[in-house]
């Protein structure tokens, strides 16, 4: 009851400013809209770890010095960075998804949802950005440090795991945070294949209510807020991980 009054008060106040938020009082549209926010947050929360893990693997392949590992990853990274995410998503959804469906004998057997494809495509796209950032960090680790580790009997993998990646992660953190911010923004392409994230939900509302400006204000505020939080967490991690004297 208290909640209803607050919603009513908000609608009334916004109405006086000339902004139409009346759909909030209806059950159905407000529900779609709230689900849209949750879907976007869920999408972001799932895609960030995917992009970080894959980005780390890519960076390790790129700096391995083995051509059979680095060449395919390099090709994938260049292809991903230089083609639009939307085209990759449509290609994956229309072509790869159909191929998977045919292999499994019909679309009804296909367990891959549009949500999965958005996570996969956006995650891999941003992983390519991370890979370049981490690669730069790995190459910036002084060679004397690697030689010292080798002298102490570390294997190639141990050097990567205990020396290069911890240092590279710290120096590439600002670039990684930039990548994550572009990840948050890229999740909106999901609306091309009817993933009901916030942009899609907003379109549903404004086609009914014709209140584009009002929805845009909320959308811009929402994305500013998520990106602000992501940037703040990035700063916090950076401060937590800083090694005094290492100059990072």
């Amino acid at each position: 009851m208290q909640d209803m009054n607050l919603t009513g008060l908000f609608i009334d106040m916004m109405g006086r400013l000339g902004l139409n938020y009346e759909f909030l009082a209806t059950g159905y549209e407000a529900q779609i809209w709230r689900d849209g926010f949750i879907t976007t947050l869920y999408l972001v929360a799932v895609t960030i770890p995917v992009s970080l893990i894959v980005g780390l693997i890519f960076a390790a392949c790129l700096t391995s010095g083995r051509l059979w590992l680095s060449a395919p990853v390099r090709a994938f990274v260049e292809l991903t960075r230089n083609t639009p995410t939307l085209v990759q998503l449509m290609f994956s959804f229309l072509v790869l998804n159909t191929v998977v469906s045919n292999m499994l004998g019909g679309a009804q057997n296909n367990p891959l949802s549009p949500f999965f494809w958005v996570v996969a495509v956006v995650g891999l796209h941003v992983a390519a950005l991370h890979a370049e950032a981490i690669r730069g960090g790995i190459e910036a680790v002084p060679s004397s440090m690697i030689e010292a580790a080798r002298g102490m009997g570390f294997s190639q993998f141990e050097i990567l795991r205990y020396v290069q990646i911890p240092l590279a992660f710290r120096s590439s953190l600002p670039a990684i945070v930039n990548g994550l911010i572009s990840l948050v923004k890229s999740t909106t392409v999901g609306n091309a294949i009817a993933v009901s994230e916030i942009t899609y939900a907003s379109i549903m509302v404004w086609t009914q209510r014709d209140n584009v400006v009002e929805m845009m204000i909320v959308l811009l505020a929402f994305f500013s807020l998520i990106n602000f939080v992501v940037a703040r967490i990035g700063q916090w991690v950076e401060r937590r991980l800083a090694i005094p004297g290492y100059g990072l």
Partner: protein
């Protein structure tokens, strides 16, 4: 020990050289070979190529307009952010903060649905086409990025230079015009090219608001032909087109960055 240390960069240099030469031609080559292997597919593709090309010319048009508009507005906004008066500085800062964080798609939707489909100029109804709205959407986004690039570039010039120009009797604007900005152009060229290339890729989003561009053309073509292999090849053509547009820009950017870092 030293063998492995010197070998690693050599193999990556070799791999990148091989990839660089393959990179430009791999996808067009794939399209050509596939069309020749399956001639019925090749015939369909040849029929649809002019349609796809007309779509891609729209992408290039939108990119050029959006980047031009965005650069002009962005440089002004970047300089406004550095203005000594708060009433000039603050609006620019708010604009940049809001639109830098906005997804390109949201801005394209905003401009498409908020602006009317025709405008009245001196009693005449002029159509306001969707592609122009997409240009404005992308220009808003790129102007926010470019404002930050401009601000960063101006701030990266040592303050002693400002003091020196003051000593030489330049006004603040003259110093900016003749001393500071010419140096900024060089420093901000690589990030500016990154923005230009991401705008070029962003033009594909205009297909979602019904602008006839490459992505839209490919969807039309694949629904008209209704063959899975044609759908695949159509999207490979789309990717190849964007790749041949953006990859040279990316390579040039990296080369410029390396040269500036060295020099």
């Amino acid at each position: 020990m030293s063998m492995t240390a010197t070998q690693a960069p050599k193999t990556t240099a070799k791999s990148s050289r091989v990839l660089r030469s393959i990179g430009f031609v791999a996808m067009p080559l794939l399209v050509v070979i596939w069309s020749l292997v399956d001639l019925t597919l090749g015939k369909e593709l040849v029929e649809w190529i002019p349609y796809l090309a007309s779509g891609f010319s729209m992408n290039i048009l939108i990119t050029i307009c959006a980047v031009t508009l965005g650069t002009t507005a962005g440089v002004l906004l970047g300089l406004m952010q550095l203005a000594p008066y708060w009433f000039v500085r603050l609006p620019a800062q708010i604009y940049v903060q809001i639109f830098r964080n906005a997804p390109a798609l949201v801005l394209i939707f905003a401009t498409t649905y908020i602006f009317p489909f025709e405008i009245v100029v001196a009693g005449n109804y002029l159509p306001f086409p969707d592609w122009v709205k997409a240009v404005i959407g992308l220009a808003i986004l790129s102007s926010a990025y470019i404002a930050e690039i401009t601000r960063g570039a101006v701030l990266s010039i040592p303050t002693t230079q400002w003091e020196a120009t003051k000593g030489l009797g330049f006004s603040r604007l003259q110093a900016l015009r003749y001393v500071i900005l010419p140096q900024c152009v060089r420093r901000s060229l690589p990030p500016w090219m990154n923005v230009a290339s991401s705008m070029a890729m962003g033009t594909s989003l205009a297909s979602l608001v019904g602008v006839h561009e490459l992505m839209h053309a490919a969807t039309d073509a694949s629904t008209a032909v209704r063959r899975l292999d044609f759908t695949i090849i159509a999207y490979v053509v789309v990717m190849a087109a964007f790749f041949t547009l953006c990859y040279p820009i990316a390579r040039l950017t990296r080369r410029l960055e390396q040269r500036f870092n060295a020099g």
